[in-house]
Symmetry: C2
Subunit: 658 residues, 2 copies
Amino acid sequence: MWIPLYSSLIALGTLVILALIVLRQDPGNRTMQDISRRIERGAMAFLRREYGTICIAALIVFTLLLFVKVQTAVAFILGSSASGLAGFIGMWMATKSNARTTQAATRSTDQALFVAFTGGSVMGMAVVGLALLGIYIVFTRLNPESLTGYALGASFIALFARVGGGIYTKSADMGADLVGKVEKDLPEDDPRNPAAIADNVGDNVGDVAGLGADILESFVGSVVAGIILMVGISMELMRIPLMIAGAGIIASIIGIFAVQVMRGISAQKQLMTGSLLATVLTAVASYFIFRNFGVEFMGFKGIYGPYIALMTGLVSGVVVGFTSEFYTSNRYAPTRKLAESCQSGAMVAVVNGLAVGMASTAIPIVTIGVSILVSYHYSGLYGVAMAALGMLAVTGFTVSMDAYGPIADNAAGISEMSKLDKEVRTRVSALDAVGNTTAAIGKGFAIGSAAFATLGLFAAYTQTARLGTIDVLNPVVIVGICIGAMLPYLISSVLFAGVSGGAYEMVKEVQRQFKERPGILKGGEEPDSDRCIDISTRAALKSMLKPGLIVVMSPVIMGFVLGSAALAGFLLGALSTGIPLALQMGNSGGSMDNAKKYIEEGHFGGKGSDAHHAAVVGDCVGDPLKDTVGPSINILLKLMSIISLVLAAHFPANGLFH
Amino acid sequence: MWIPLYSSLIALGTLVILALIVLRQDPGNRTMQDISRRIERGAMAFLRREYGTICIAALIVFTLLLFVKVQTAVAFILGSSASGLAGFIGMWMATKSNARTTQAATRSTDQALFVAFTGGSVMGMAVVGLALLGIYIVFTRLNPESLTGYALGASFIALFARVGGGIYTKSADMGADLVGKVEKDLPEDDPRNPAAIADNVGDNVGDVAGLGADILESFVGSVVAGIILMVGISMELMRIPLMIAGAGIIASIIGIFAVQVMRGISAQKQLMTGSLLATVLTAVASYFIFRNFGVEFMGFKGIYGPYIALMTGLVSGVVVGFTSEFYTSNRYAPTRKLAESCQSGAMVAVVNGLAVGMASTAIPIVTIGVSILVSYHYSGLYGVAMAALGMLAVTGFTVSMDAYGPIADNAAGISEMSKLDKEVRTRVSALDAVGNTTAAIGKGFAIGSAAFATLGLFAAYTQTARLGTIDVLNPVVIVGICIGAMLPYLISSVLFAGVSGGAYEMVKEVQRQFKERPGILKGGEEPDSDRCIDISTRAALKSMLKPGLIVVMSPVIMGFVLGSAALAGFLLGALSTGIPLALQMGNSGGSMDNAKKYIEEGHFGGKGSDAHHAAVVGDCVGDPLKDTVGPSINILLKLMSIISLVLAAHFPANGLFH
């Protein structure tokens, strides 16, 4: 049991070292520092207000949980603190790294990559270090069962971080684009655009803090599911998920340092090599963990059974990630064809963009299906949890790579806004392009990991609720499936309304500023970016409560009214629509974004052509799909499963209809 | 057993009378006759070529079915003939009614409604008369089990009619709009637009033949499911669905004649009164059928058990239909708010349009859920089939009302193209507006009925496959659910590609004609509409094979590879995503369409304003959603269920993975 403890402490130590490395870098000239400080201030102001709201909600849940079990309630507070703290550290670091990355780019691309990736790695270490430390504490000081409360806490923060962050970032982004790009023909990140700073704040709020909380939740969920399934069955097997998570952290740290010492090859290759290294090390270490500590295996096929399940998850993660890249990158046919079809106008662009996302659902879902079959075949429900863990073991590295994206994006924004040399801007925007690829893979990974974590939690739920069989021919199960399947649609509609409401406010504000103070566009006057930040903040806080309430309450109502079997159907129904919907939205949005970029590179008429205008519309439609609604569905699935798991023992078996 | 036979013969007799009434009407002046004849020629040419393709595919299926069972194969041919013939008669009549409706409008609105509705009623009578006659023949001359083959035949035609018709109509419509309205600022149905005739042909091909085949399939499916569930259990209960269907036909005929004798109240009210009358008569007649013929009820709660189930379905149908109207009509808040948000531009319009559809899924799905619970509670799986039948009993009237819409739409087109008086055009377009409402209700009804028919067929499948329990914790069931849930997305992406490919060809052709022959736009030269018709026809035929193959093969592969339990999961997964997806698409499209119309009425700047341009983009995106992809999902669900039912006895229980 020293592995999880020491590896999480090592992660936190590494975090400090990495943070010191970033802080020692040159923060750039006065303009850059000034912009960076405004982004930091906006992001922190949002986080403070968001956490304020969350605190109240968390206290209510805490109070309710006290009636369920005191330990669960305490673990809940620990889980939410771990997630909240990780988000805070990661985002603070990201806002410290952006201008430093831009400044480093004045020297070389390698140097800039070093700074951006180091900044991102702080987030990676914060996520896995804090998450695993918390799990270790609950496991050893409270009791293993209380881990459900811990996972609920992490899930709870993730809900607000993802939903709030998603609405913040897209209302700012769409607002900035709708007036800036479409009406006034300003370039991206133009300093005259009052919403430009809010847009950059949004990258941190949504893509760093939101994504981090999302994957932290999956990480915790997969570890906890593996443990809960073995409660009362095997102490050995309960410890294994903890050890594998710990080994994954060490492997991730090695991968991170490997990226930092590599020189002279492309950024993309450096990141991929690091990722491969971390993955292979985790696979090897897991093998020895199973061989040395997995003494008893309850009829699973030898020690290889759970190990094969673990490897299945690891491989599926890679397949799902790269499918996302295939469908969204403009180096492949789907997005290039989409770009070509933009020549027929905005409607065709939107329709085809939606179609690309729909087509992209097939491979990941079949892959997930196959790995469920394989992992279950080799070691039952525990195998499914192992597959989830396999996918998430290298979370430390994955989050580092994902958090790198928005830092590079911010750096590109700062280089534009502070009007640096063309060469520097080219360097930073090359890193930004790599960041888009890692972001696409990261999004696919977030969905895939959510699917596996949900399955693991679902397995734990059915076992805890003592559901021997859940018969699909039981009408309450069918009804559960149908209503569960509808829920992601309902939540999506609420989120869309939140984003477009926020964007509408933002558009009005930017238009007002341009109209009342014509000096802004001419270049003499400073735009009032604080008001824009405030609008996004208020839109996000206002719009996150309603979906939060629906997500939290619906499994509770379902469980108490229709019973625990119907609730199982409900969770499965939500999973069955949630995964394709999230994949479709993520990949539609990504493909539309990159089709636009492909046209901007000069294809099909290039910038300013009809095809480009169509692509811009497509991109704007795709933005909330990929950055707000799609990712929120991940959380929805996990949170509903974890709530069901926490309350599993309390639901009536047959509900009120028997 | 005389009820089903005589009522179907009465329906066919009524059909002849109604057709003669329409043909006796004045077909209008030479221009009108000429346009109507070109629409008729285009529609018939498409139907011939479509039926040619279908014949080959049907022969292949027939040959394969011979290996399953000879009677099933024969019933398959009967089922496809009934559906094909109904489509042919209905569409032929619709093309005869359009100009006559326009001409009748020169006298009065009442007169025009009379002609259009009578024309539509021919389709209604053809659908129920032929469908029930065929069922009667198979039931009495072959054997009840072979009805699965009959339903498969009807389903098979519906697939091609819906998919082919949907692609035809939207590639023509989008092609006509993208060049005509967006580029050249021509009004709808301008005679100079070469694609205008193809667009009107599309209304007949998609909205008459396609919708008719779709609802015919639901009608057959619900009757057959009720019968199959009672095979070997109760001869009495097997006959009841036939009798109720027969009673529904007679009630529908009374409703139709009631509409025709009503005068002096609005078209909307006339149709609603007729619908209510038919529904109430069916409810009353069913009560007596259950009381007099439902002698034995196997422990169901008295004779009232199945009757309550039937009523549940009837009421749900009304709720689902009116929810569609609430979300899509511009008399209610959702569409008005959508219209308002169009002021923020095309992106917001599209995003909010998608959101309206998503929000609209909640009420129908909860309604369907409640009625499953109630009907199952009162009479088990047979009750679920009864609920389906309750929803579909008044099909005769519903199809008449639905087919009225495209006739009125065509009539409006003809009045534009033949440049009639403003007063006449106003009258016809008022009828057209009523048609949009009935079409919205009809679409909701088509989805709701598909859901119920699928559930009925699913119940029959699980019973025929002798699946005692289907355990959700069995991993193959989970995999089945996940893959089934993905399938509607995959099919949607293929259909989108078909429509946008066709629209792209159409845009190029229209642009070419305008460019090469500038006389067209000036008004001297005739556009070459035959080439446009040919493009839509080829696009439709080419694009319907791939989705057809996926839909037909996937349940077969699933059943043989993963076994019959996994297939049950698969069907349920497809249902769980298919229903919300179809509802979302239908209602998003309808709402966007009517938001545009609301703006055109003068709100938020009216025609030509920025809001209007945004709404036009939204409408174009919504068009393929509501008229091609959404409706095709209905067929997908039903066809996959019926294929599973036909082969139910042949699938291995556990598949290859055990």
